[in-house]
């Protein structure tokens, strides 16, 4: 059922990052089995899947936290090994983890440059501040001042800081793990705008999400994982039911049953009102 959809939506250009047959086992548990994934420059690929589908494992393989057991990773036409977060960084694969990993007590500049401060003997705060502003301007980030501790920023602003930080190393591919999970409506819209700007700058974006609405709002293609395996790649305008079915594994599932029930009860109510 999903095969034709997958065939219809191959990557539009040569992929900058592609995975072939990547598997990862944790003891007896096969977290990923023969997973393929392509991301092109200037493309947003969403990875969706139910709990335990292997989304986070895939992120960790790409960001160098875990090593894949088998399979190949090709980056910019070269086969590479991503053995550590530093490797990923050196290649130009940046990851924004779900918990953002910011230091609340440090200000925006200090967080952006944490671990790679600009030095001229001592820390060069002025240069760092200027580059912080340039970076935040590029992202049209709405942060009034960079000299406040991150603790006083809103969730969306923190997400922006985390994304800006990942851009400092001039990456080619950026991976966002559940970027909108903890955000409100307006902040979510802000982050989605940010993702579109990243795409427009020619970055390949991989976005992990639970939220189908957000996925459909920005993704060019949607890759579905189910129980650690590929379960189809869809165009962003594919019907939600179809994608959900691929996530859960059948057209008759809890989600569709619930939707049907709601539809029927609504129809029943309407009939009553008409009477």
């Amino acid at each position: 059922m999903t095969a034709p959809a997958a065939a219809a939506s191959q990557a539009p250009t040569r992929p900058i990052l592609s995975l072939r047959g990547v598997s990862k086992n944790f003891g007896a548990v096969a977290a990923l089995t023969e997973v393929d994934l392509d991301v092109a420059a200037g493309e947003v690929v969403a990875i969706v899947g139910d709990n335990g589908a292997g989304k986070s494992t895939l992120v960790k393989v790409l960001s160098g936290v875990h090593r894949a057991d088998t399979g190949t990773v090709t980056f910019a036409d070269r086969e590479v090994t991503v053995a550590s977060p530093a490797d990923a960084h050196a290649l130009g694969i940046a990851t924004v983890f779900q918990d953002l990993a910011l230091c609340e007590n440090l200000n925006v500049i200090q967080n952006l440059f944490l671990g790679r401060e600009v030095r001229r003997g001592r820390l060069d705060e002025v240069t760092m501040e200027i580059r912080s502003w340039e970076l935040l301007r590029q992202l049209s980030a709405k942060i009034p001042t960079v000299r406040v501790p991150v603790a006083s920023l809103s969730g969306g602003q923190r997400q922006t800081v985390a994304i800006a930080r990942s851009l400092l190393g001039d990456p080619k591919v950026i991976i966002l793990d559940e970027p909108t999970a903890a955000l409100g409506v307006a902040q979510t819209a802000e982050v989605l705008n940010l993702i579109e700007r990243l795409r427009d700058r020619g970055l390949g974006v991989i976005m992990i999400s639970h939220n189908m609405e957000d996925v459909r709002a920005v993704a060019d293609r949607v890759a579905v994982l189910r129980l650690g395996r590929n379960n189809g790649v869809f165009d962003a305008d594919a019907p939600t039911e179809e994608i959900v079915a691929a996530m859960i594994g059948a057209s008759d599932n809890a989600v569709s049953r619930r939707a049907n029930q709601r539809r029927q009860s609504r129809q029943r109510r309407q009939r009553k009102e008409e009477e």
Binding site: P85, A86, F97, L100, A101, L102, C103, E104, N105, L106, Q110, L114, G115, R116, E117, R119, R122, L123, V126, T127, E129, I130, W133, I143, P144, T145, V146, R147, V148, P149, V150, A151, S152
Partner: protein
Amino acid sequence: MADVREAAAAPLDLLDERLRRGEGLKAALAGIWGRVRSGDLGALPIVLGLVVIWTVFQSLNSVFLSSANLVNLLMESASVGIIALGVVCVLLVGQIDLSVGSVSGLSAALTAVTFVKHGWPMPLAMAAALAAGAAIGFVYAQMVTRLGVPSFVATLAGLLSFLGIQLWLLGDTGAINIPFDSGLVHFAQLAFLPEWLSYVLVVVAAGWLFATGYGLARTRRAAGLSARSTTLLVARSVTVLLGLGFAVWYLNRARGVGWLFVSFVVLVLILNYALTRTGWGRSVFAVGGNAEAARRAGINVRRVYTSVFVLCSTFAALGGMIAAARLAAANQSTGAGDVNLNAIAAAVIGGTSLFGGRGSAFAALLGILVIQSISNGLTLLDLDSSFRFIITGLVLALAVMLDSVARRSRVAHGRAA
């Protein structure tokens, strides 16, 4: 039209229309007032506390604020103050060292034994004691980072063990006198700045403050960022010049400013520079704020912990030597009793958070002045140590409560907790 031009000329970091802008002395004062109201109190409570403590003791005994007594107070504060510097570092990464008192006692005993009994030259004896302190810190760091022992427990074990070694080193007599003619004792008891030099240092300090501030302001303006106005910088330097000048003049009416206290202040300034202007300092704050985030940012967290524990024990060893030199003897009570808790209390009263990531080197200086003032004042009133413990305890409780309230206010006003 005017608004547009103004916005275009605004510095890069003040472009956001939500920011309130203001320049000069008045705006700076308003900014400080706004920060205080939102609970970002800085050093204000400690300074107010000192004023209250000094007023009370002065009204009870008019000797308290005399030049002679203040000279004495400053000299006495150096040893525990130096220990508190190390405690600040450990607290900044969210750890604790409960053994600073024992380590300082051990270091005093070690210095005395090698210098007096074995006839080592003084520099060698001191270096050996400092090295022992550094080694102790290194062992703590390994226990904490490699074996996962909580620093509370590791240093509690150290407290007992090193106290034992101190007693064993001192032997049956329990005390070793350090000759008065040794350089260390002279330095800690009798070395004072010549009057002219003390004033020169005040001018140098004020001038340096202005020069660095002006240099930074010029770089920032050249880069299109907002900067402190020159008026403000001049005002700040003149305030420091007059304040320090008056203090030095007052102290010079008695014995003057001791080299020991000047050295302590220099250590505070060096540590402040290291914490705020170097990559090491930045990583200390980062580890204290969020160790996992620091690790993912590529900071070697284990190395940061190690550096901090080593620094803390080394400062403790130095403080112990100074304490022995002040007394011209290393005995069983050097570093015992309230030294441990006074050092930790000084760091906390000075505004260092027990939870890591918040504090400064000046906390040790301000905190120890509070503690030493209480101790000194009560001694003048002929009240014994029971009162000293009670009142120091109350002040510590007050300081922590004030910090908690201020923290809540900071959170409510959207500042860093």
